[in-house]
C-alpha cells in the first residue's frame, strides 16, 4: 500500500510539515481542490488524492456500489492507467481491443486473474481491502495499471492541470494523502491535515520535492518496446 499505509499524524505536526512543503491552506468548505506540482512547478497528472476524516465519522461510505467502475483495455493499454476506488467497490475490465488480454494482479490486497478474453467475458472484480493493486496483462507485458483502493469515499485524481477536486465534503478535520506510482514509496509527502468548514471551498497546494519517475506511457512513441 505504500503511502496510504502511512500512519496518520497530529494536525499540528501536519501543519508544520505542510508549511515546510510549501503547502497553503485557504479554509473554505464543501469541496477540496488539491493542486499538485512537481519540483519545477509543473502540474502532475494522474495523482490520486484522498481525504480521510480524522474522527472516522465523516468518511462513512456514500459510494453507490451498484454500478461497477470501469478499467478499459484499448490499444493495448489500460485506460485509465490509475483508478481510485472505495473499499468494497467492484471494477469491470472490458477489453475493447481486437486482441485478447489476460488481466492479472499478484498484489497482496487483491490477487486476481481474468483468463484470456475479449469483450466483457468476465464479471467485475470486487476490491475489498485497501491498498495499491498493480494490474498487468499476461499477453502484453508492457501493459500496466494501478488501482488504489481507499477507506473513504472522498477521493479524486489529478487531471492534466494537476488539479483534483473532491466535492460534497462534510465539515470536519481530514488528513489528505496522495498516491502516484511515479513516486517511490518513501517519496510520498506525509499526510496533510486540513479542517473543512460548512459551505466553503478549500484549496491545497502540494509541491512534490522528490524527482518523479517518467510516466508509464506516451501517446506519441516512435519506437517499439515489445520484443518479437
Amino acid at each position: 500500500m505504500d503511502a496510504s499505509n502511512q500512519s496518520l499524524r497530529p494536525c499540528a505536526c501536519l501543519a508544520a510539515l505542510a508549511a515546510c512543503a510549501g503547502l497553503s491552506v485557504e479554509a473554505q468548505p464543501a469541496s477540496l481542490t488539491t493542486v499538485i506540482s512537481d519540483r519545477n512547478g509543473h502540474a502532475v497528472e494522474e495523482v490520486v488524492v484522498y481525504a480521510i476524516a480524522a474522527d472516522g465519522g465523516a468518511s462513512a461510505p456514500v459510494t453507490d456500489f451498484s454500478e461497477p467502475l470501469v478499467m478499459n483495455q484499448q490499444s493495448e493499454q489500460f485506460r485509465p492507467h490509475i483508478l481510485v476506488a472505495q473499499t468494497g467497490t467492484t471494477i469491470s475490465f472490458p477489453n475493447g481491443d481486437t486482441v485478447a488480454h489476460h488481466v492479472y494482479s499478484f498484489s497482496e490486497p487483491k490477487r486476481f486473474e481474468l483468463p484470456l478474453y475479449q469483450g466483457t467475458a468476465h464479471p467485475p472484480v470486487t476490491f475489498d481491502r485497501p491498498g495499491v493493486i498493480d494490474v498487468g496483462c499476461n499477453i502484453h507485458d508492457h501493459m500496466e495499471a494501478h488501482i488504489v483502493v481507499v477507506d473513504t469515499s472522498y477521493f479524486a485524481t489529478t487531471g492534466a492541470d494537476g488539479r483534483a477536486e473532491i466535492s460534497n465534503l462534510p465539515s470536519g478535520n481530514y488528513t489528505v494523502q496522495i498516491y502516484s506510482p511515479r513516486l517511490r514509496a518513501a517519496d510520498h509527502p506525509a499526510p496533510q491535515g486540513i479542517a473543512i468548514a460548512d459551505n466553503n471551498e478549500a484549496l491545497l497546494q502540494i509541491q512534490l520535492e522528490a524527482r518523479l519517475r517518467p510516466p508509464h506511457f506516451s501517446e506519441t512513441e516512435s519506437l517499439n518496446w515489445s520484443r518479437y
Binding site: 481486437t98 486482441v99 485478447a100 489476460h102 492479472y104 499478484f106 498484489s107 486473474e113 483468463p115 484470456l116 478474453y117 475479449q118 469483450g119 466483457t120 467475458a121 495499491v132 498493480d134 498487468g136 499476461n138 499477453i139 507485458d141 508492457h142 494501478h146 502516484s180 506510482p181 511515479r182 513516486l183 517511490r184 514509496a185 519517475r213 517518467p214 510516466p215 508509464h216 506511457f217 506516451s218 506519441t220 512513441e221 516512435s222 519506437l223 517499439n224 518496446w225 515489445s226 520484443r227 518479437y228
Partner: protein, 431 residues
C-alpha cells in the same frame, strides 16, 4: 532434420486447428485466436552492376537489374492460437517469388506464459523461432515497421539464424511497482544452426528484406573454391541451407536486457552455435559461429527514436591447417548500425546508417572473404489504414569485396535501389 521441422510445423498447425475447434464451442469472448494474411508487393528500381545474391552473385540487395520491376515480395500467413490461456501456438509461413521452397515455414513454436505470482515473469518458447536479438524486426512476420529493408545485422539474422529449441526469459521489475527499471534475462538452447556462417563467409553481408525459410536452399556465389571439382565442393553443395543440424550438439544464446520505462533499453547477448567445424552432411559443412551483440534503444525529444545494434564475432569451418595457422575458412565479422526514426500521425520517417565488414583470417587460396562496406537507408512509411501500408525506401550500399575480381569485376561496388512497397493485410481476423 527437414522432416523434423516439417513435423513440428504440422504438429503446431494441427494444434491450432484443434484449438480452433475447441474454441468454437467455448463461451463467446474467450476465443482469442487470430489469422493474419498479408501481401507485400513492390515496384523496384535498381542501379547496380552486381548480380543479386539470390541470383547467385555477390550483390547486397534482394534484387538486381535483371529482376522484374514488379516484385511479389511475400505472401505471409500468421496464425496465433490458444491451447490454454497461458499456452499459445504461433505459426508463420510465407511464399516469396524468389524462394526455392514454395510455401514454407518461417516459425512454428509454442509459447508458455505462466501468470506471474510474484514480480518475476517467466516466458518460455518451444519450437522453431527467431532469436531475441533484433530491435528492428518487431512487426508481424518478423518484419520491420521502420523501413522496407532491415539493417545488415538483422538481414543476416533473417538469412541464417533461427533456433530450433527452447528459450526461457525472466523479467523482473527492479525497485517495486511503478519503478521504471526492468531487467530481462534470457537464454536459449537449440539445434539446427550448424551451417550458419556459410552465407556470411562466402556471400558476405546484405541489406534487404528477404527471410530464409526452414527448408530453403540459397545459392552460393561460384567463387573459384566453390566451383565444381574443388576439394571444398566434395562435401559442399553450391547452396547454403542454414538451419540443418549436423553434429547433434546444441548451441546457446544468452543475454541480458535492461529497460527504463519505455524510454531506453540496453541489451547484451552472446550467441554460439557450438558447432563442430569438422562435420559435414547433406552438402553442408558445420560452421563454428559465435558473436556478441550490444543493442541500444532510446526515446529522444521531438518524438524521435534512436536505435543501434553492434555485433562482432567469428565463423570458421574445416580442419585446422598448420600452414594457414587456422581452419580451412576462418573469418571475423563485425557490423553496426544507427537508426533515427520519427512517427507522427501515421507518417514515419527513418534514417539508418550501416557499417559492416568481414576479415579473412585463413590462407585458403582463391577464397578471399574480406569485405568492408556501409549502407545508407532513407525510408518513408505511411499507415494509410490499419490494413494498408505504403512504404518508399531509398537504399545505397557501398561495399568492397576483393572476391568480385574472381569474376572480372571491380572489388568496389555501389548498389542503389528505390522501392515502393504496399503491405496489404488481406485478412486480419480474430475469432
Amino acid at each position: 532434420m527437414v522432416a523434423l521441422l516439417r513435423a513440428v510445423g504440422a504438429a503446431l498447425l494441427m494444434a491450432g486447428s484443434a484449438s480452433s475447434v475447441l474454441h468454437a464451442q467455448a463461451p463467446a469472448g474467450e476465443s482469442p485466436q487470430s489469422w493474419l494474411v498479408q501481401s507485400n508487393a513492390s515496384y523496384v528500381m535498381v542501379d547496380s552492376n552486381e548480380t543479386g545474391w539470390l541470383n547467385g552473385g555477390l550483390g547486397k540487395l534482394r534484387h538486381d537489374e535483371t529482376d522484374p520491376s514488379l516484385s511479389f515480395d511475400r505472401l505471409l500467413i500468421e496464425y496465433r492460437g490458444v491451447l490454454t490461456p497461458t499456452l499459445l501456438a504461433h505459426v508463420v509461413m510465407d511464399y516469396t517469388h524468389d524462394g526455392s521452397s514454395g510455401f514454407d515455414l518461417q516459425e512454428s513454436y509454442l509459447e508458455w506464459r505462466p501468470v506471474p505470482r510474484s514480480p518475476n515473469r517467466h516466458r518460455f518458447k518451444l519450437g522453431a523461432f527467431y532469436p531475441r536479438l533484433s530491435l528492428e524486426n518487431v512487426a508481424s512476420g518478423w518484419e520491420t515497421p521502420f523501413s522496407i529493408s532491415s539493417s545488415a545485422i538483422n538481414t543476416w539474422i533473417a538469412e541464417e539464424l533461427k533456433l530450433l529449441g527452447i528459450e526461457w526469459a525472466l523479467q523482473r521489475r527492479l525497485g517495486g511497482p511503478g519503478s521504471p527499471h526492468e531487467l530481462e534475462l534470457f537464454a536459449a538452447s537449440y539445434y539446427g544452426n550448424d551451417p550458419t556462417g556459410t552465407l556470411l563467409a562466402w556471400k558476405g553481408w546484405g541489406v534487404h528484406d528477404r527471410q530464409t525459410r526452414w527448408n530453403e536452399q540459397l545459392p552460393l556465389p561460384p567463387t573459384p573454391q566453390l566451383e565444381a571439382g574443388t576439394r571444398l565442393r566434395e562435401k559442399q553443395g553450391p547452396w547454403a541451407e542454414p538451419f540443418l543440424e549436423l553434429d547433434h550438439a546444441p548451441g546457446y544464446l544468452a543475454g541480458l536486457e535492461w529497460r527504463y520505462a519505455r524510454r531506453a533499453s540496453v541489451q547484451i547477448a552472446r550467441y554460439d552455435n557450438h558447432t563442430d567445424p569438422t562435420v559435414s552432411a547433406n552438402g553442408q559443412y558445420g560452421w563454428e559461429t559465435y558473436f556478441d551483440q550490444l543493442a541500444l534503444q532510446v526515446s529522444l525529444p521531438w518524438n524521435l527514436g534512436f536505435m543501434a545494434q553492434w555485433m562482432t564475432g567469428n565463423t570458421q569451418m574445416g580442419n585446422f591447417i598448420p600452414i594457414f595457422g587456422s581452419r580451412v575458412v576462418n573469418n571475423d565479422f563485425e557490423s553496426h548500425y544507427v537508426l533515427l526514426t520519427r512517427m507522427q500521425n501515421g507518417h514515419r520517417f527513418t534514417l539508418r546508417y550501416d557499417d559492416f565488414s568481414v576479415e579473412n583470417l585463413d590462407g585458403l587460396p582463391m577464397d578471399d572473404n574480406d569485405e568492408s562496406g556501409d549502407a545508407l537507408t532513407l525510408a518513408y512509411v505511411y499507415d494509410y489504414a490499419s490494413n494498408l501500408r505504403l512504404a518508399v525506401e531509398w537504399l545505397r550500399v557501398d561495399s568492397d569485396r576483393p572476391a568480385r575480381e574472381y569474376f572480372g569485376l571491380p572489388s568496389n561496388s555501389t548498389e542503389t535501389v528505390v522501392r515502393v512497397q504496399l503491405r496489404w493485410q488481406l485478412l486480419n481476423h480474430a475469432d
